[in-house]
Symmetry: C2
Subunit: 261 residues, 2 copies
DNA sequence: AAGTGGTCTAGACCACGCG
DNA sequence: GCGTGGTCTAGACCACTTC
């Protein structure tokens, strides 16, 4: 077992630094130990049973504290192995005013990019897809879903749907979806994007390697051609701890600003 | 107790519709009951002890399922009273390309708006505030924090900091912060906004009346005067289930996207 | 006073990783 | 095979709301 984590709970004063339920006191105690660098990123935490013994709490209570930290991403629990302090994660910034691709974002940061294909093919559209893409009843759609990975860390899940009229053969999409659309002369020129937050479900959390219930950014994007037709309908889920969306806002109706300029 | 929820767990087949851990099976079972309208919004769920008795599970296991639903906001737990299906929540849209105020957003939807003041006064700046606002070492800041409420539902927490050079008397801020800044000739003309998702901590979750760990949108906004000086530094936390940010994107540099990997 | 959710315990079995 | 996290149980006390 690791030595530095040993002294964390023996002192007996870990209780007094907080108040309220025991599991919360323990939780904030561990949290502070991580923040102050008393335990280093990547290091293992003592096992739940050990912490229980050291603190005099039951394992259930210890577990509750650790689980909450895991849900927040400060800590990673590995069955059969142990619990480890999560590696530090610097947020990626993405502009909200220009349409950039994932590959672009990452390349700018000098990170290695990988994609794991999850689905790529022609399908019958769902009712939602039919509506959003404005399809005729006989139209089919191409779906390309992939897990986006940067430096071996899964960052986002992308689920794109395109009418086969604009993308007849999804297998030709190898790297950038936009690159392929461009080759076909169907590159979008504008898009509407909706951003909201939600707790990740089991499936998505597992893919992104975070705890179930961790916060994620849901992004729904609809892209338009110059002609105004809808090309692409993409639902993405980003890790909340890995992404930061940046937008520049301008004042709506402001007479003073106009005059001053 | 309510009658319609009675039959939910007696059948004995609630287990077979799912697989995996019992608490997950129960969780998805209740979830479906809500989705399909088998239990109505606002109705009470049977008590944890009752569900335990009906399903043959222990209360701990039942509790785990219910708690997860509470964290997701599908259900509200009221100590001493019971657990209730949460009222349906329609999302509010907010544009990301124009700077609008909360009051504006809500007024457009025809909702009643309230604010609960949490902090309003002059303070010594934190290191972060000093840096972001570009303060001299002797400068003081005005802080105005409030809980934003629409139709009696808490929607967001707003914590704004302004240098006293631009807002000498925060007590004069009654409704819109921007309105007051405008009166003083210090209305911002542009802003940079960062959006990310995170699980809500105890304090914020309590204020927003959602479960601890529910997903929230963190928004940090820095507003600029025409002169380029920083006026305002605001950190807001929005309920993930209540807000939807909308952005319109334009294609930046087309060629870069193709080349980027 | 009775019932509710909130917390906590002690003990158990499982599947899995690792040496 | 041993230790880990993952799940589950039965029973307990508390603070609170409701009647």
């Amino acid at each position: 077992m690791n030595r530095q984590a040993q002294g964390l709970f023996i002192s007996g004063d870990w209780k007094r630094e907080s108040h309220g339920p025991l599991y919360l006191q323990l939780q904030t105690h561990i949290e502070k130990a991580i923040e102050t660098g008393r335990i280093l990123h990547g290091d293992p935490l003592p096992s739940e049973r050990e912490i229980a013994a050291m603190t005099g709490l039951s394992r259930v209570t210890v577990r509750r504290a650790v689980q909450e930290l895991a849900r927040r991403g400060l800590v990673v629990q590995k069955p059969g192995s142990g619990t480890f302090i999560a590696p530090e994660m610097q947020k990626v910034e993405q502009s909200l005013s220009t349409l950039t691709s994932f590959s672009e974002d990452m390349a700018r940061r000098g990170n290695s990019v990988q994609s794991r294909w999850m689905e790529k093919g022609i399908f019958a559209p769902s009712p939602e897809e039919t509506m959003v893409l404005g399809l005729a009843s006989t139209d089919m759609v191409a779906r390309v879903s992939r897990l986006r990975i940067a430096d071996n860390v899964p960052m986002a899940i992308e689920r794109a749907t395109i009418s086969t009229r604009f993308l007849p053969d999804p297998d030709l999409v190898t790297d950038s979806l936009y690159a392929q659309l461009d080759r076909l002369g169907n590159k979008p020129v504008r898009a509407i994007q909706r951003i909201s937050a939600a707790n990740l479900g089991r499936t998505d959390a597992d893919l992104l390697e975070v705890g179930e219930g961790a916060a994620g950014l849901n992004i729904v994007r609809v892209s338009y051609l110059q002609s105004g037709k809808v090309v692409e309908f993409t639902r993405s889920v980003y890790r909340g701890d890995a992404y930061d969306f940046v937008a520049e806002l301008k004042i709506g109706n402001n007479d003073d600003a106009d005059k001053a300029q």
